[in-house]
Symmetry: C2
Subunit: 472 residues, 2 copies
């Protein structure tokens, strides 16, 4: 169905992007573009050719050519994705935006920044810091990910309660459509109802609807003060039940509320060789507050602490300085590593449920864990219901059994999550890692509608095909 | 192209919705459904039949029938729109959601509310007040508009700087597709990247992609304290230049910043028979602050006032009580009435520009005003660049001349706004009032893409046809 990339086509691509921005016939260099951060090798696939356009015009020329010849094109940011979104599963052209790496304008009058899609997210905030501003999107990988990938995946992270996710700050996008037209959606406008919201349709579309070349981002004043609270609880219910109370009773919207279950906490302590202060700890919350006044924050932290104490906390620690904050965060930062030490064979999941349903998730996961003889530690962003349950193979289980049980674990988990009003991805995306499971949480009319939208953008289905769903 | 509504079809509609929920052959009752709040009569059009379904299932049955028979269906909320979005310009079926008027669930654990689309927006907030919560969407017509219409138009209002517009709070939608399928997009999930963002594609789609039947809304803690500042400036530049400084220099995000130009201020004072305290006033800002601590707000108000004084304000008045706040708002609330008294023949516009470009809008409007001999007062939401420039006929101009010059004034205005990086609607929508002007601010590839998306939802183009654009 798709055309393969011939030497003649490679010549044309070299004419468009320059010879040094095209990789062909070089296994070693191509390999780096065959996977993202998904651990499992079976989700990787080699591209036939890699191109690194230096301008939106070059991207458009590549797309026009590919659309004419029906060659699949997979756009790629920094490759930090967690669902295989940037993996060229049909080969073809891998289009890396790494050369679109300029911060074009810091617009202080409009409180917006204009960047190319290949800029590292943290570099934007480093530049903005000078002006007392920041981009409030906060993916955990911000030191290495590209802003274009953040937009394509609608990256989330740990600060969504207060700041929302990436999409909230995306005001305008320059996009190359699958058919090669260069278009602009939105602009430096805080309000805009002129036609459909194509900006937010692009956000989170996983590179299937267009290649993002420029991004206009709305900025906020940089918070100057921060207080973190570490709260230990006897059990999960007590911990989770307090989460909405912080907002309703104390009237405070924290920056983030991270959660770890007992298995995550004990395993990570063991991994780090640290002793638990309260061995009876059944769950932990990490509550972040930020703002412009240290005094106000101290009052807020006091109010939250009192609320926690009225609601069954074992102990609360507050941290106001970077040093003490780092100490508080140490366990949370090392959870993933701790479980990789147990067995590297595992799958990082990204389920999301209504926050009130979190207490029901943990017994459900324990049930699956027993039924299938796997570990399922659970940690993540409690304030927004997004839990990185991670299915980990026990060291003693052989790979054949693992490969048989894993799809069953996932299907059971996803069905249960769906019944709780949740879904299978809060921030990592569907990619090709989860596409076979999409019908478990979404009806046929909704999926068919998405396919028709895909074809409205991409009639030949050449842009990142085989992601989210397959077009028959 | 479309089938007309016969007596036989009316019988089928009565079977679906019940006889008392169908209006047919009753000019007087039908007339109420022939227009929205657009003042100009030429934008009105009579429906052939009005149906008022009582459930999503009934809506689906109506849509299925209409799609089979190719009868146009125009969905309608409270009819408070300002772009003709709910006007049945091809006749056919007017589908009113007025009977879908139940608040279904106040979910305190998830901080969300589930409502049917025909609930009056303010009724939701009255119910939420009891629980110390609110829905932060804030259309100016909230006393009468329906939440379904707010979603369909992505209603804005005066508090978008701090709270954003309607779309930010819409987490899930039950929708009847033009082809009659009943679907759910999103849910009670703060984060969700499972497939395309169909929730936000529906938001602001002006009833052209589906009929909204249920809405899940995210809530915030109700602010308990409020301070308003009225600031008088010698000229527009001084007033507008201070707007971004409030956020960047003072680090404060106000709830809203309303703006009035000299013509609006002087005309409204004359209309109300009030004397201006400072006759040299060239522009006014109304700055709203809200929060949970009166003390903190007082400090913020002080910081903002100091900033204003350092930046050329003539005088600042602060109001902390509802009485004094009402006084401060009196002029702003009466602007529209003041100009209706001059001549009721006028068109309320809804242009939006990057906030830094507002100073350039006013001389542009003055130029048009002189060139075409019309009044163009300008007021609105300065904090988000959304200005309700209103083209008002002078009493002495005859209607023939007015009808000739108005399209020229609008075309000139829209072109100028587009050059400033703005667009033709910030919160009122395109409807059929502005559709002929869309190509002035949007390229052909973008408009064609929207048409293809429309047809992906509505292959027979029967749902609210002739809005935003025409399908050839």
């Amino acid at each position: 169905m798709y055309q393969t990339v011939t030497a003649e086509i490679v010549e044309k691509l070299k004419e468009i992007c320059g010879a040094r921005n095209v990789i062909f016939n070089d296994e070693e260099k191509l390999e780096a573009y065959s996977h993202d951060e998904v651990a499992e090798k079976e989700y990787a696939h080699m591209p036939e050719v890699v191109v690194k356009p230096g301008s939106a015009g070059e991207v458009a020329a590549v797309m026009k050519l590919a659309n004419e010849l029906k060659i699949p094109v997979t756009p790629r940011g920094a490759g930090t994705g967690l669902s295989g979104g940037a993996v060229p599963i049909y080969g073809g052209i891998l289009l890396s935006v790494e050369n679109l790496n300029r911060i074009l304008e810091v617009d202080l009058d409009n409180l917006m920044v204009v960047v190319e899609s290949g800029v590292i997210t943290n570099d934007i905030n480093e530049e903005l810091k000078k002006h007392g501003l920041f981009f409030a999107g906060y993916p955990m990988s911000l030191q290495s990910c590209f802003i274009g990938g953040n937009v394509a995946e609608n990256a989330g992270g740990g600060r969504a309660i207060k700041y929302g996710v990436t999409g909230r700050y995306i005001m305008g996008l320059e996009v190359v459509l699958p058919t090669g037209e260069l278009v602009w959606f939105g602009g430096k406008r805080v309000k805009d109802v002129t036609g459909y919201n194509l900006v937010q349709l692009m956000v989170g579309s996983e590179g299937t609807l267009g290649v993002i070349t420029k991004v206009i981002i709305k900025l906020l004043p940089l918070p100057t003060a921060k207080v973190d609270l570490l709260a230990l609880f006897p059990d999960i219910e007590t911990a989770i039940n307090v989460v909405p109370l912080i907002m309703t009773k104390a009237g405070i919207i924290p920056t983030g509320i991270e959660f770890m279950d007992r298995l995550s906490v004990t395993t990570t302590h063991q991994y780090l060789g640290e002793k638990m202060a309260y061995p009876e700890t059944g769950a932990v919350l990490l509550i972040e507050l930020d703002g412009t006044s240290q005094e106000q924050l101290r009052n807020d932290a006091m109010a939250v602490s009192e609320l926690l104490m009225e609601n069954g906390v074992i102990e609360v620690y507050a941290a106001e300085t970077p040093d003490t904050q780092e100490k508080i965060w140490k366990i949370r930062r090392n959870v993933a590593e701790a479980f990789k030490a147990i067995d590297p064979v595992q799958t990082l999941e990204d389920i999301v449920v209504p926050i009130a349903s979190i207490p029901k998730v943990i017994p459900m996961l324990s049930g699956l864990s027993e039924k299938y003889n796997v570990l399922i530690p659970c940690y993540g962003h409690a304030g927004d219901g997004n839990l990185h349950a991670t299915v980990v193979k026990k060291a003693e289980m052989d790979m054949e059994t693992w490969k048989k049980v894993l799809p069953q674990v996932l299907a059971d988990m996803y069905r249960a999550v769906h019944e709780l009003g949740g879904t299978i991805s809060g921030e990592h995306g569907i990619g090709h890692k989860r596409k076979e499971f999409l019908p478990l949480v979404m009806g046929e009319p909704e999926i068919n509608l998405m396919k028709r939208i895909k074809l409205a953008f991409d009639p030949n289905n050449i842009l990142n095909p085989g992601k989210i769903f397959d077009i028959a």
